[in-house]
């Protein structure tokens, strides 16, 4: 056997193997499955018996007014909160029992900043890479690629506290991708960003979704964003999912010309009361203070 035929042989074996693997995983093609999920905080039911599933490689938008239960759901999916009852399966595993496996499989960009201000951009990235045990050479290489991509490579040695809101967000998106997650959770990732930055971030995310078949779970208040990017949309209100499907289906269902109008028809036009806990007030204070500063 010469070199080429070995290679051919190896390739065909690889192909067969990957077909085999695909057959196995296609049996369970839903990467996220949630059934009858409930979360109560005292008397308040934040998430009220929701069920949904997300296909592998999908871009799923979770839309709803403030206080509808979006962030609580994300926290339960990402092992930060324990559900009161109900079942969650992520990539075939239960977050309650296979915490580490699940944590390795997703990346997340939180609603609020979660960078260490006193560290540099590069140090924040390194910290994340180490926590997720990405080997050193791969880590260095990916960090460089990602920082160049979000156009922060030149600022890598600057402390994060000198960054603007948009720069921090870009850094957080880059950080969430270092360990090549199968699922990326984005909780209002584009809040307060200019259209250029938003466009930039979404282009990259949709590109990753295509190339790596990475599943994306996002929440946003910008309906045109959801309409443009998401393939499946679920609308949640008062802790319940009230509509689900493609953007076209939701528009058809409500007879509205745009997703925004469909959303308003489904959730009503009244402004929601939000109970702010101590943390929210703190964050608000911090945001205001930051705005005043610059």
């Amino acid at each position: 056997m010469n070199h080429n035929s070995i290679e051919r042989f190896m390739n065909s074996a690889k192909e067969r193997n990957s077909e085999f693997m695909e057959n196995i995983s296609s049996e369970n093609s839903n990467i996220i499955e949630v059934s009858h999920l409930i979360k109560k905080f005292g008397d308040i039911t934040a998430v009220d018996d929701i069920s949904f599933s997300i296909r592998r490689g999908d871009i799923f938008a979770f839309l709803g007014p403030n206080g509808a239960g979006k962030t609580t759901t994300i926290k339960m999916l990402t092992t930060l909160l324990k559900p009161t009852s109900g079942k969650i399966l992520i990539d075939g595993s239960n977050p309650a029992t296979h915490q580490d496996k699940i944590r390795r499989s997703f990346g997340i960009v939180f609603q609020d900043p979660s960078l260490d201000d006193e560290l540099t951009a590069l140090e924040n990235m390194e910290f994340h890479g180490c926590l997720y045990r990405v080997p050193k050479d791969i880590r260095r290489q990916r960090i460089e690629e990602l920082l160049k991509f979000v156009e922060l490579w030149d600022r890598r040695k600057d402390l994060v506290k000198t960054f603007s809101g948009g720069m921090s967000r870009r850094l957080e998106v880059a950080r969430g991708l270092i360990h090549h997650p199968k699922i990326l959770f984005l909780d209002e990732p584009t809040l307060g960003l200019d259209p250029q930055t938003r466009n930039h971030i979404w282009t990259h995310i949709t590109q990753l979704n295509k190339q790596e078949n990475m599943t994306v779970f996002l929440t946003t208040h910008y309906m045109e964003e959801a309409e443009k990017i998401a393939r499946t949309i679920a609308i949640i209100d008062h802790g319940k999912i009230i509509a689900q499907g493609t953007s076209a289906k939701l528009k058809e269902q409500t007879g509205a010309p745009t997703l925004e109008e469909a959303f308003l028809k489904l959730t009503g036009t009244s402004i929601r009361k939000e109970s702010a806990d101590v943390l929210d007030r703190m964050r608000m204070g911090r945001r205001l203070w930051r705005r005043k500063r610059g």
Binding site: L80, K101, S114, H128, L131, Y132, L279
Partner: protein, 248 residues
């Protein structure tokens, strides 16, 4: 191990970057050294003989350590508010390692702070016995640092914000410091007061420091090591448990 190391490193980087914090936290011990050391010196000499500054310095070194330790532990509240805690809590690594890394980082900083105060105290007239017990003094410094950083972590795991912070300082840390024999000799004290002091783990830390630095003892070095070591272990375990229970 990587987790512990990276969290340890983060604490150190943050510490060495905030020069104002280092200098700021030296102010209080320095004031105590000068005001008490020089102010009470003559009375101490008349009553007991010997230099008060030699007696006082180990207590003030401990003071610097406990405040730095408590603050680094309590920084978790800060991380919680500024969101960074979430980043560490969703990572595929055990909470115990996160807690240990942070606490060791804080303890290293507090140890360092203690050593700075030791150096400063030399300029105010403190003359330690430079002998074979100096490495043991380092062990005591580190143990006190570890105990109070772990205590800070444990407390911070229970608190959502800084509202209770004043309470902790005034009703826990200050009493622990003032009722530890850091400032006065334990001989000849009223019995109930003495008992109270014997229940304070910091008393053993300070006694150990005093014995290793100036060769004055009350409980004995082995008792000191044993009590301080076991209390530190217990607080570390409680702290890890409380930290693992944090939900965001």
């Amino acid at each position: 191990m990587t987790t512990i190391y990276i969290l340890w490193l983060r604490q150190l980087k943050r510490y060495f970057r905030s020069k104002t914090r280092i200098i700021g936290s030296l102010g209080q011990p320095l004031l105590f050294l000068i005001a008490l050391g020089f102010g009470m010196g003559p009375i101490y000499q008349q009553a007991r003989g010997g230099k008060y500054i030699d007696f006082l310095a180990p207590g003030i070194i401990a003071m610097g350590i406990i405040f730095t330790g408590i603050f680094s532990g309590i920084e978790i509240i800060w991380d919680r508010q500024f969101g960074f805690l979430k980043e560490t809590l969703v990572a595929p690594t055990s909470r115990i390692n996160i807690m240990l890394g942070r606490t060791l980082g804080g303890a290293t900083i507090a140890t360092f702070q203690g050593l700075i105060i030791l150096c400063i105290s030399l300029f105010t007239g403190f003359k330690p016995h430079w002998g074979p017990l100096i490495p043991v003094a380092l062990v005591f410094i580190f143990l006190i640092a570890l105990l109070f950083t772990a205590l800070g972590t444990a407390i911070a795991s229970l608190m959502d914000d800084f509202h209770g912070f004043q309470l902790i300082i005034n009703f826990l840390i200050m009493p622990l410091f003032f009722l530890s024999g850091a400032l006065f000799p334990l001989e000849g004290l009223p019995k109930p007061f003495k008992t109270l002091i014997a229940f304070n783990p910091l008393s053993y830390g300070i006694d150990g420091l005093r014995q290793t630095l100036i060769n004055v003892q009350h409980f004995g070095i082995l008792t000191d090591l044993l009590v301080l070591g076991s209390i530190t272990t217990i607080i570390l375990i409680i702290g890890s448990w409380l930290f693992s229970k944090i939900q965001l």
